[in-house]
């Protein structure tokens, strides 16, 4: 069987398209590359959905934590503490079993127990907490002069937020937020090891890498392939976020532009 046929058969296997039965013996390098790459689709899906949805919630949480209203502040603080203070792994388990209990109450909760929805919700809340803390930190370090200048010009309320606070906050937070995005993608690898079942063996990249390592009893091939894919994904995220960073800092003189340097800060959740 040629490699192109393998790709045609297994390229979308993680979505349930193509050949149903996974290879059982005589694994070729091509099969391993194709299936692990096919699993990456899940990692990209989880990461992208959680990141985009989480962006809005995290700004809400950051504003809540910085607000003068004690209810909003306390609620945001507890939200951040709950999701940053406990391991993501345990959050997945807890959420999965909670969803299972909900399912027995009413069948409407059925989709929550499958990874595509349930795990995405957990990742969404988790990244919102981490990014919320980042945005809160940025909000606190907006130069005092910027706000005073806004006051002097009579810019207030929503307009001040939209024109002054929000862009400055985003620019200050961006390098740390890039880090967060990278680790969110890494965290997606936990999904199928934490309760959520891989229905019909439709798993993510790590699921297939682990499958091959179990079957061949040789970890030295599938895991480097997985590493290769994740490094590609990381480079892609850095490129995209770097482009956005250049856009956010385009008005600054070159020496004041912050460059994105990837330094692990809060890697494992």
């Amino acid at each position: 069987m040629s490699c192109l046929e393998t790709i045609a058969d297994y390229g979308l296997r993680s979505l349930g398209l193509g050949e149903r039965i996974l290879p059982k013996t005589d694994f070729t390098l091509c099969q391993q590359f194709t299936l692990i790459g096919s699993g990456m689709l899940w990692n990209i899906y989880f990461g992208a959905v959680a990141l985009i949805a989480g962006f809005f919630l995290s700004i809400t949480v950051a504003l809540g934590k910085a607000s003068a209203n004690p209810i909003a502040r306390k609620a945001s603080e507890w939200f951040i503490f709950l999701f940053r203070g406990s391991p993501l792994f345990i959050q997945f388990f807890f959420a999965y079993f909670t969803f299972l209990s909900l399912k027995s109450v009413h069948p409407a909760f059925d989709p929550l127990t499958s990874a595509w929805l349930g795990a995405t919700i957990v990742l969404f809340l988790n990244t919102s907490a981490y990014a919320g803390e980042i945005f809160y930190g940025a909000l606190k370090s907006i130069p005092k002069g910027d706000m005073e200048a806004a006051d002097a010009y009579g810019i207030t309320g929503w307009k001040r937020f939209r024109r002054i606070t929000y862009p400055t906050m985003l620019r200050l937070a961006w390098p740390a937020y890039t880090n967060e995005a990278i680790f969110l993608f890494h965290a997606t690898a936990l999904v199928f090891f934490s309760g959520f079942p891989a229905w019909q063996q439709r798993g993510d990249a790590l699921y297939y890498a682990n499958y091959f390592a179990d079957k061949t009893f040789n970890p030295f091939v599938p895991y480097p392939i997985l590493a290769f894919y994740f490094i590609l994904l990381t480079l892609f995220v850095i490129t995209v976020f770097g482009a956005i960073n250049r856009h956010l800092t385009r008005h600054l003189p070159p020496e004041r532009r912050t460059r994105i340097r990837f330094r692990p800060r809060q890697p494992v959740r």
């Binding site: 013996t25 503490f81 709950l82 203070g85 406990s86 391991p87 993501l88 792994f89 345990i90 959050q91 388990f93 807890f94 079993f97 909670t98 299972l100 209990s101 890494h186 965290a187 690898a189 936990l190 090891f193 790590l206 890498a209 682990n210 390592a213 079957k215 061949t216 009893f217 040789n218 970890p219 030295f220 895991y223 997985l226 590493a227 994740f230 490094i231 990381t234 480079l235 990837f262 330094r263 692990p264 800060r265 809060q266 890697p267 494992v268 959740r269």
Partner: protein, 294 residues
């Protein structure tokens, strides 16, 4: 545990719960919290040592060392740590067995990888197939500790490498001017001063390490996650004295609370440590403390 527990069917409410929570399996569950704390206590210093070696190697002027150190510090940047966990736990096992095999059975003719099997001679197996159960458990735990130490050593190497670079350059130049050799400069000037700069990163690392402990479950150790799944699952009256439905949600809720408590306690302790270390230091933190006192 209590006398009234002899016949669990006849008791109810609080009494039932007190018996349930003190039965043999639950005592094992509580012990596994000890396993987690033991892992933390053993891994933290080992990982710090690995990190120190990695950071020193990265600073080395000898190219192979510095390449090794830089490679080690950057392994954790692009790839999920969980992939390293799953990889190292098998890879280390196979490397150990392979080395023992080479040493103990030099006459062995057959290839070690036969299709999908990894075959070494019987006396090279780890642990030996006739060893008692506890040896298997200790070996599994040791592999887990090593895996954790390698991965977190890489994080620690990152932190320490940064800290070593933050020590003011004039300090090192002064040492050189006084005729210190580069080894003396390293041990007497650089290492004692770097800890203040490393502490924020290291306390961050501690939090990360705490939150990585449930991954022990994936390495095959019977830890709190294993027991929570085991005990929380539906218990049939035919096989259990304490039948109940699916309680895994509550067990994992309890684990969640446990981790939140550990995080909170660590935060408080590390904050105190930091404020003690910054006292009198010529840093922004030390300056703020001085102003607050004045």
């Amino acid at each position: 545990m209590f006398e009234y527990c002899a016949d669990p069917q006849s008791i109810q409410g609080f009494q039932w719960l007190s018996c349930y929570l003190t039965n043999g399996k639950h005592l094992l569950f509580y012990q596994s919290f000890g396993v987690v704390l033991l892992l933390l206590a053993v891994t933290a210093p080992v990982a710090l040592a690995f990190g120190f070696v990695g950071a020193s190697a990265a600073r080395s002027r000898f190219l192979p060392f510095s390449l090794f150190g830089k490679g080690y510090t950057s392994i954790v940047r692009g790839v999920p740590d969980i992939a390293f966990f799953l990889f190292f736990v098998i890879a280390l096992d196979q490397v150990f067995e392979y080395l023992r095999h080479k040493a103990k059975c030099p006459d062995w003719e057959l290839p070690i990888r036969q299709g999908n099997d990894f075959v070494v001679c019987d006396i090279a197996k780890l642990p030996l197939s006739n060893s008692p159960q506890w040896v298997h458990e200790v070996y599994g735990f040791t592999l887990a500790v090593l895996t954790f130490a390698i991965v977190f050593g890489a994080f620690a190497a990152n932190v320490l490498y940064g800290a070593m670079r933050s020590v003011p350059r004039p300090q090192l130049e002064t040492a050189e001017a006084y005729g210190f050799s580069s080894r003396q400069t390293f041990w007497r000037i650089l290492v004692p001063q770097m800890w203040v700069y490393a502490l924020p990163g290291l306390s961050n690392l501690w939090m990360i390490l705490v939150k990585a402990t449930p991954l022990l479950f994936l390495l095959g150790v019977e830890d709190i996650v294993y027991w929570a799944r085991e005990l929380g699952g539906t218990k049939n009256p035919r096989f259990s004295d304490y039948p109940h439905g699916d309680w895994r949600m509550y067990y994992f809720g309890a684990l969640l609370v446990f981790y939140l408590l550990v995080t909170r306690v660590s935060e408080v302790v590390l904050d105190r440590l930091m404020s003690r270390l910054t006292l009198g230091q010529a840093t922004a933190g030390g300056e703020a403390q001085r102003k607050a006192l004045a």
